[in-house]
């Protein structure tokens, strides 16, 4: 299935979760998300969990956490 991450189309196995798509997109970005320096949202601006399940055609957006979020 195809998922867009920050506008880039990622081809990944059917049944992939958010964390799988992030790793496939960029291991560096994945590391920042794991460290809570960045977070992942959907195309509507809502934050999604790393174990969230996906349907083909969805879009994810990686963005920086606010300083307070990074500390938590």
């Amino acid at each position: 299935m195809q998922i867009k991450v920050n506008g880039q189309t990622i081809e990944i196995f059917a049944g992939a979760r958010v964390k799988d798509v992030l790793r496939k997109y960029s291991l560096a970005e994945w590391t920042l998300v794991r460290k809570k320096e960045k977070k992942v949202g959907d195309q509507y601006g809502h934050e999604v969990g790393l174990d969230g399940e996906l349907n083909g055609g969805e879009e994810l957006v990686i963005k920086a956490c606010a300083p307070a979020e990074s500390r938590s």
Binding site: I12, E47, V48, G49, G52, E53, G57
Partner: protein, 515 residues
């Protein structure tokens, strides 16, 4: 002169009239084969002539969770929150939007599986549960047990006769003042096989229809209550589409995508809510009605990490559940301890290969978190060996694509990283640390035939983190690598070959070897 009709025709007329009313009401409210099992009493309650006066003002609170995945700890806080609201006198409901099962080995491996989750939901007095794809991970019988004890809904699951009689497409709930909430469920299906995301063996005996199309067929239920709710497990993007296509709904409370919708969003007049996942948040929706009409609806999330009140009885029960004796259960006995990455990785990949009809399987060394398994292997040992919850992914690959995977695995440390089943391989590297050759051999030592594709299994971590060529995107088999190992060990395999096994070799062209 007063005419009297003969008794026969009068009785026939009455019978026809009653039959007509029955047929009309049935068509208007209850679909398909499962109608007999619905909790609703729509056929007797839908007449406007008999409808009691609705309260001038009502306040309904709906708490909701989704994708709890066995994370039970915060239920002591959830219980305290819901209990306090119930004591306030408001009309309080608690809805679950699916995927309560799977994600915590202690709960997954309870005897019977998932029992703590069912008991806690019972004690929380959950009003309705929508079926999620992971509800099937323990098998259909456990979902039936869940549905026998709790009101479970899903309209697009179409069981073969007798396969799932406890399932209801929807329920009708009532407030103290007589306000009716009509709540239907729908579950996601994968476009490829038309099944929910679980192992296909787990949903034998069930058929599934497309969730949005099924939901749209239920528009007529709008007339049967004052609050019309889709309790879905299809992911937030699909909820969005549903809201655009079905403005008859008042609320969509969803799950599957673990989306934190805070505050709940109004889409085409429909309030769409979802409460993240893993029991980190509790959703709360407030509805205000006047004369049975919604005049205000809003939703927000309660961050449970910031809640201090806990229900003491729930806390004690949760502690009891965590002390699961089943985790110490011995599932296999080996003639000797199984030690080292080569042996443990061979065992783990054999479990994937042999358990699911695959040709070849890989396991990365980083995912092998023990150095040895004892002779008496317990469930706890398996989850310590493989704690990540990675899925088994199947990708159909050519030999050159397999070489591409192996090459990528060796590039970082110039040593063996991937353990293997179904073949062996040798990587040869020159003095400049450039890989010159990757030889693939069948288990009997002959060359792996080049002119065909192989069904290759690997963890979702390898499938997503390693950079290798593959035309087939692959698919999750709906089972974790740890579950595959447990199933293999429980099948009673001969564990003596794992005493001394090495299937992957790394050679320098100078002749030295670093396995």
């Amino acid at each position: 002169m007063k005419r009297t009709l003969p008794a026969g025709p009068v009785l026939r007329l009455l019978l026809f009239a009653l039959l007509g009313v029955f047929v009309l009401q049935s068509c208007a409210s209850v679909p398909s084969a499962t109608s007999a099992t619905t909790r609703s009493s729509l056929t007797t309650e839908s007449s406007a002539m008999t409808r009691p006066a609705l309260p001038a003002e009502s306040h309904i609170v709906i708490f909701h969770s989704n994708d709890v995945h066995g994370k039970i700890d915060n239920f002591a806080k959830v219980a305290a929150i819901i209990d306090a609201e119930r004591k306030s006198g408001a009309d309080v409901f608690f809805f679950s939007a699916g995927d309560n099962f799977t994600g915590d080995p202690v709960i997954d491996r309870y005897d019977p599986p998932g029992e703590p989750m069912i008991e806690l939901l019972e004690r929380l007095r959950v009003d309705v549960v929508s079926v999620g794809n992971h509800e099937f991970d323990y098998g259909l019988e456990r979902v039936r047990k869940l549905a026998a004890r709790l009101p479970v809904v899903s309209a697009n699951i179409e069981p073969l006769p007798g396969a799932f009689p406890e399932l209801r497409p929807w329920v009708v709930l009532k407030t103290k003042g007589g306000i009716k909430l009509v709540v239907f469920g729908v579950i996601q299906i994968e476009p490829g096989n038309g099944l929910p995301s679980t192992h296909p063996d787990k949903v034998k005996g069930l058929r599934f229809s497309e969730p949005l199309a099924k939901a749209l067929e239920l528009k007529k239920l709008r007339a049967e209550g004052q609050v019309f709710v889709g309790l879905t497990h299809i992911g937030y993007d699909q909820d969005h589409i549903l809201a655009k296509q079905m403005p008859e709904l008042d609320l969509i409370i969803g799950g599957h995508s673990h989306t934190r919708v805070d505050p709940a969003e109004i889409v085409n007049g429909v309030l769409v809510a979802q409460a993240g996942g893993d029991n980190q948040f509790l959703g709360r929706i407030d509805l205000r009605l006047e004369d049975g009409r919604i005049v205000e609806k809003k939703g927000r999330l309660i961050d449970l990490s910031k809640v201090s009140d806990e229900d003491a009885a729930f806390k004690a029960l949760i502690a009891k559940f965590h002390d699961n004796p089943a985790m110490a259960r011995v599932i296999a006995k080996a003639p000797v301890e199984i030690t080292g990455k080569n042996a443990l990785g061979s065992l783990m990949t054999d479990a994937i290969c042999k358990g699911y009809g695959l040709d070849i399987a890989f396991q990365n060394n980083g995912g092998i978190r023990l150095n040895r398994l004892p002779q008496a292997i317990s469930l706890h040992d398996v989850y310590t060996l493989d704690p990540f919850g990675n899925q088994v992914v199947q990708i159909d690959m050519t030999p050159d694509e397999i070489r591409s995977l192996i090459r990528n695995s060796c590039e970082k440390r110039h040593e063996i990283d991937l353990q293997v089943s179904g073949m062996s391989y040798t990587v040869r590297e020159d003095a400049a640390q450039q890989i010159q050759d990757i030889e693939l051999l069948r288990p009997d030592g002959s060359p792996l035939p080049e002119n065909r594709n192989y069904k290759v299994g690997m963890s979702s971590y390898i499938a997503s983190s390693y950079r290798f060529a593959h035309k087939d995107a692959g698919r999750s088999l709906g089972i974790t690598t740890a579950e595959a190992l447990i199933r293999y060990l429980e099948s009673g395999p001969d564990l003596s070959p794992y005493r001394d096994v090495r299937r992957a070799h790394y050679q320098k062209v100078t002749g030295s070897s670093r396995d």
